[in-house]
Symmetry: C2
Subunit: 307 residues, 2 copies
């Protein structure tokens, strides 16, 4: 059994994955703020999983952690995890020392890409579908980023920057991005983008946006279209660079479900009408949604260093 932990900005989710890939309901707890508190919540997750399984912590083969920020995969150090209040933390070594089990660390989107890829293999095996050679996981969370898997291997790149398509500028007259550039994809195709484009007191502004758009509200339809176009541009960028067989949309906003998939495919279909070149790439057919509720990052984290 291996442990996979997904440390998010608000929640830490942890699962124990058996050798056959099966896992139980994720254990969730609030993520602490700051390096010490993040470590504490990770350690507590490990001990709670062991207790639930009736095992000693040492019974687990390895622990994998997915965490936002820049991760040095070789030495398990995470840095610039701003939302967690972590400037630098030797998470692999420190958590390993606390629990006595080897710990591997990966960026959360890259871990989720591994998890989504493994899920697609399992699904393809079950359905008899032929396996594609490559996949991108397009994470629509507070920000926008992708993880790329080629021949079953996660693409990290020279500096861990592979898949950071959220900071591809697409409009010189767009808004200023937090990265200092103008008109980045993330400024139209992310949770933070919707918060900015659709200011609202509703408990779930995204749901309100989609409900009003479904009811034909012109302002909501315009914002929704901008969002869909941004996600579609992300799909296009992934195909025109790495030419992946599949783009799997995940992250918090993927919980929108079918209306999201339909909207993105609709934009790609519209583009194909005016561009035979884009039509030849069959972009809409490459897009998938991650199953709602699938703990891609925790599952993928358990696979880091194994797959």
């Amino acid at each position: 059994m291996r442990i996979g932990i997904d440390i998010g900005g608000t929640k830490t989710a942890a699962i124990a994955v058996a050798d056959n890939g099966s896992f139980g309901e994720p254990l969730r707890r609030a993520t602490g703020f700051g390096a010490r508190a993040v470590l504490d919540s990770a350690e507590a997750s490990v001990r709670a999983l062991a207790e639930r399984a009736g095992l000693d912590v040492s019974a687990f083969t390895s622990i994998g952690v997915g965490i936002p920020g820049a991760v040095d995969n070789a030495n398990g150090v995470v840095s610039h995890a701003v939302n967690l209040g972590v400037s630098e933390l030797a998470l692999g070594r420190e958590l390993g020392d606390r629990v006595g089990v080897p710990v591997r660390v990966e960026n959360d989107v890259k871990a989720a890409a591994l998890g989504a890829h493994q899920l697609s293999i399992d699904g393809a095996t079950a359905s008899g579908e032929l396996l594609g050679g490559s996949m991108a996981y397009l994470n629509l969370g507070t920000g926008l980023a992708a993880g790329i898997v080629q021949n079953g291997v996660l693409l990290r790149g020279a500096t861990g920057t592979a898949g950071e398509i959220g900071h591809l500028p697409m409009d010189p007259r767009g808004v200023l991005c937090g990265c200092g550039q103008v008109g980045c994809l993330e400024t139209v195709a992310s949770g933070s983008a919707i918060t900015r484009m659709w200011p609202s007191d509703a408990e779930y502004p995204v749901l309100e946006l989609f409900e009003l758009a479904a009811a034909g509200d012109a302002a909501a339809l315009a914002v929704q279209r901008t969002f869909f176009e941004g996600v579609a541009a992300g799909v296009r960028a992934l195909v025109l660079t790495v030419d992946v067989d599949r783009v799997v949309i995940g992250g918090g906003l993927s919980a929108i479900g079918e209306p999201l998939l339909r909207g993105v495919r609709g934009v790609l279909a519209d583009w194909s009408v005016s561009s035979p070149f884009l039509a030849s790439l069959a972009l809409a057919e490459r897009v998938r949604l991650i199953p709602i509720g699938f703990p891609a990052a925790a599952f993928g984290a358990a696979l880091v260093g194994v797959k």
Copy 2:
């Protein structure tokens, strides 16, 4: 000895590459128009190389051909090579039947990427420089496209579309691209873009543009800046997706030499001032120019299927 052939829109260049990687002066001849004429020029190139070497054609181990258009690498079929008047041609089989030597076919930019990569290995070995794991070859010709080499292997992608960054739109208010989209990178960062942005009766409009810009002409400087920004955007797109160690600029426009490299690095440096994120990626340091006159596509074509 292997033969490498680069079939371009106007010229066909061919070299014989020895097992140690050395090769002589390329043989050049006009490329015919249409499938039959393209085949004839390729066959004539092979026979001329053999004659120059005083060998029978059967003395060559293999022939590799780089050609514009969509290439099915597995069966040697090229299609949609519009500039050559070729809608579909089983180039590998037909040329192989004519000369009795196995023929492999690859898209010309992808072949050039292999050639540039091998050159960088040889150069690094000679200089003792550490080898990076990945490289993109950014071809500035009539159009704009890139070839990506990861761990010494050419990235083709699911449908041969990997590296087609010339059709990444970057400005919704840009001009209509031949592909049917608006504001593609190719509409600002290519030979055809300069022809459009700098209409001129000069024999070499690009040289005129750079000479006038060097003399401080405001209109020339503005066009040149747009061009540099487009190339820089191509470099950024390659790093934010595949995160290559090096981007090597090649193609016809790379003959501009140092002023091109300086201009692109200057834009990347300017962007880094306003974006700490981009600054952290050290984009300017990743850019190189292919040595002027190096026959990257012919050299790389000789390596197709070997490397």
